[in-house]
């Protein structure tokens, strides 16, 4: 029983924020655990994860089973999000808790892709970055993990310490995009 209270990374930042056809909310999966297989052990890790309906995701993809996901999160690395670690990974992979280091945001709406275009250098067209795709990239000048959830919704993870900057940048982009509809 923890005697220490929990602080939300977005406390005091005014979420949710709505502007135009876009909405920004916090999102916090129960867990984020990094799974980094040792060389030659990817197949073993994959087997263990298949046991819980997932699998070790190929680069840029997400495997999902209910609310638990295995997200490709970098070089030979997957983040297990939303569920506990299955048994049997210890000897095959380096495991670290990442749930406190990353702050998650949910950006949704018809204008979500246009808003992200202000900050993310990726090709976010649905044909190239479809739902269940993931990417490590930059949110302007911040490292980020980006997932597409649906055609018009994304999850964005940034360093906890940069939560304020991320909310500020996204809000400004949302406002800039929204303002265009007032002009012809």
């Amino acid at each position: 029983m923890a005697e220490l209270s929990v602080t939300d990374p977005f406390a005091g930042l005014g979420l949710p924020i709505m502007a135009g056809r876009c909405r920004l909310d916090p999102c916090a999966p129960d867990t984020i655990i990094s799974i980094a297989p040792f060389p030659g052990h990817v197949a073993s890790v994959d087997a263990v994860l298949r046991g819980i309906g997932l699998g070790f995701p190929k680069p840029g993809t997400v495997a999902a089973a209910g609310s638990v996901r295995a997200v490709s999160a970098g070089r030979a690395t997957a983040f297990l999000m939303g569920g506990p670690l299955p048994e049997g990974l210890q000897e095959h992979a380096a495991l670290t808790d990442q749930g406190d280091g990353w702050a998650g945001l949910h950006l949704a709406g018809e204008a979500a892709e246009a808003v992200l275009a202000r900050l993310v250098p990726l090709d976010l067209r649905p044909t190239t970055f479809p739902p269940a795709a993931s990417a490590r990239s930059l949110l302007n000048h911040m490292p980020c993990l980006l997932l597409r959830v649906t055609q018009t919704a994304f999850e964005l993870y940034v360093f906890r310490s940069m939560a304020g900057t991320a909310v500020h940048e996204l809000t400004e982009a949302m406002r800039s995009v929204a303002a265009r509809s007032a002009v012809k």
């Binding site: 990442q98 280091g101 990353w102 275009a117 302007n140 911040m142 940069m162 002009v183």
Partner: protein, 977 residues
Amino acid sequence: MTQSHRIPGKGRIDRARPVRFTFDGRDYDGYHGDTLASALLANGVRLMGRSFKYHRPRGVMTAGSEEPNALVEVLEDGQHTPNVRATMQELFPGLHARSQNRWPSLSFDALAVNDRLSAFLSAGFYYKTFMWPPAWWEKIYEPLIRRAAGLGSLSGRHDEGRYEKAWAHCDLLVIGSGPAGLMAALTAARAGADVILAEEDREMGGRLLSDAPEIDGRKGDAWALAIVAELASMPNVRLMPRTTVTGAYDDGTYGALERVGLHVPTLADLPRECFWRIVAKRAILAAGALERPIAHPDNDRPGVMMASALRSYVRRWGVDPGRVVIFGNNDSALDAARTLTAEGVRILAYIDPRPVPPVEEFRVYQGDVVGTTGHLGLQTVRFRHRGGVSEIAAETLALAGGWNPTLHLACHMNTRPDWDEGIAAFVPRPDMVPGLAVAGAAANRFSTAACLADGAGAAAAALADLGLKAPDLPVPKAEDGVYAIAPLWSVEAPGRAWLDFANDVTTKDVELAAREGFASVEHMKRYTTQGMAPDQGKSSNVTALAVLAETTGQGIPTTGTTTFRPPFVPISIAALGAGGRGHGFAPERRTTSELASRRMGAPMIEAGLWFRPSYFPREGEATWRDSCDREVTMVRQAVGVCDVSTLGKIDVQGADAERFLDLVYSNTMSTLKPGRVRYGLMLREDGHVMDDGTCARLSERHFLITTTTAAAGPVMRHLDFVQQAFCGDWDVRLISVTEQWAQFALAGPRARDLLNTLLRDPVNAQGFPFMACSETRILGVLGRLFRISFSGELGYEVAVPARYGAALFDRLVAEAENLGGGAYGMEALNVLRIEKGFITHAEIHGRVTAFDIGMERMVAAGKDCIGKAASQRPGMIGPEREQLVGLMPLEGHASLTAGAHLYEEKAPATAANGQGYVTSVGYSPTLNSWLGLGFLKNGRARHGETVRLEDGLRKRKVQARVCDPVFFDRDGGRMRG
């Protein structure tokens, strides 16, 4: 009298929406859809500016972004935007514009005296005149020239406008929406490609909007509108009007500037401009061609403009140009004359050096224009012809010297175009930019039919590259006239003839440059400044180099062009740096204790991207020194709490983790037992110290290493490199956990008491010795505990997952205060470590070795490590090197400054006598003295010696005694107990 020069019923302007605007303090009316230039012309205003050097009266010459003359200032919300082309400024209610480069007014400009002095102001004048007396240059000539030079003025205030940057990706980028661009976009879009169609103008259609040739039995502008409507309805097409593609870069990346909010009054949240990076698999440059003038004497009066611009002003904006004379050398000029006549314009004369058969609607002369009159605006045109010399009164002289394909983007990868004798213009070559095809007039197709076909063909080729099937789309029928031209660059007649209107360069200047030896086109450009104005010579480059070619006798192909570089049009710095002002410059990294620290009144300082508290002022403390001194004493006598979360933390796991750490650390980590921490040095491969930190072994195969705050990113990158380059098949994985853990230092004699308030099972000195580590429950939360010290006092660091950081800090500070202690900040942290001789990156600044800081034994003998070999090179170890020492002022309260240099007591302060320098200083309340750390030649052998610190910047000299850098508690008993 408003809008006296409008043709009723003409123009694509909205006469139902009048717009009031101001120019040079006077109100005028225009219509929605006007540009400032078209609205002024419609109001009978031809005088719009004064030329750069000679302050000659000037009017608008073009209808596009290549405008060289009509540069104005737009005033809004106390801001000036100078050098706005009146042709590009769309009219909006309340637009407030002002002419530039004239005093006191546009119609009476005192500096027009320069025109009388033109003989002294020719090309390169500042190298030849104003040379005597030499002393006058700095005090008189230069300030005067400086005041007279430049175009436009700034408000002097920061630009607080809103700008943005954005990315776009597509299969095909089509640049330009004339007939070629529209056909290309439509062809590709119907095949299912993702198409972006970028158009500089506010409306799509290119020249079709002004010339309206017949396409498939319809007027060209109507055809264009229908195509645009279809494109707008297609989900795979993005139309980007008001967007100039400014540069072609590597790998299919294009820069583009979109004017988002410049055509409306300032709106909250609406960006003024957006700078785009467009990544396109393929691109088609269909940017058309720009008409060039003919150089003849006095060809620069207000009322002289391009024939194509005249067509635009008549058809697009319904401007009545008055009586018109056309001077051209090619068939498009004749076509212009015919069409304008059909639109109701009075063409008094058509003058062409070629023999042209007579025409019913207007008089045709074979000849050339030799001069004009009219001070503030064109009054008469004087011309030679078969029958002699004539002079006729006219309001507008339209010049039509031929067309230059707009191929700039295709040349941005340091390639030059080819000269085509047939059209007397430069044309693109294939594959100048990988993935970019040129189509339409930009590729020297000068008939509408050829443009349409070319656009369709370029799109089909691009589709093939993209693996898409071209649609069944017939090319519409249109005129397919021949384009004949007789090159005429400059008329042989007395008087000055202008080439570069924007920088006031005449044909005489180019001839002078050649005579003075600046005969290459690159030299001519810099010597005369031709082509260096905001228009970058769009209407003068080709004519100027033709004049140069004739003067040198080299011919045009040999003379060649200068280098084409982005941007195609000027881009405001604000757009390029959008979002980067002030707070937007870099991410702000905030710790879990920041809110509490601010509440406690701590000023925050920036340590890299992080914000850290400088000190925690208490009541009665007047200065930062009061607080800092008190915090140091508080830590040495009771206990202090400091947030150290910002240090880099890297998790290293695997069977080969210890082997890997032995490679990257200079000392040995494989011998470290689980539950223990070891201080480590990392060297760069060149043998110098890269970083220092701690290495904790949590278990057999699990390590946690720390880095200096600022070095976290570079060390991670370095470790990734070593692992991937040299240890790719080792069982070791690394990941940063800097953000995962909030970590706090507890320092002072009562640190253990403080710690035990958090632990269910209290620790004692023996049970948790110096340099131990473990997982522990801290107030019920699974965290980590380390017994390490940067203060030299009994110290622990507690780490919890970051979500608990704020709460833990609050609890720690409260408990510490109960024990007579409290929070301490960066200033005290620095003094404490200086007292103990602990180094930071002030000491390991990149040119320092392990030997220099007295840690040569930390480079383990029995193993290789990164930097080992180079660290043992000759010269890297030895008495001639500057070694870490401590410094104390001889005189009790003298202060020391970092950056001061060290000299022997009596030696003068010269570079040759330099013995070293000071890296860190602080006032030590523990020792009642200023202390310094620094590097001194052979320092370890010179303890007890007196040296002189001399700070040249702050003009201070202090005598100091050299001593051991550990000033306090030499054997470290306080932290080991």
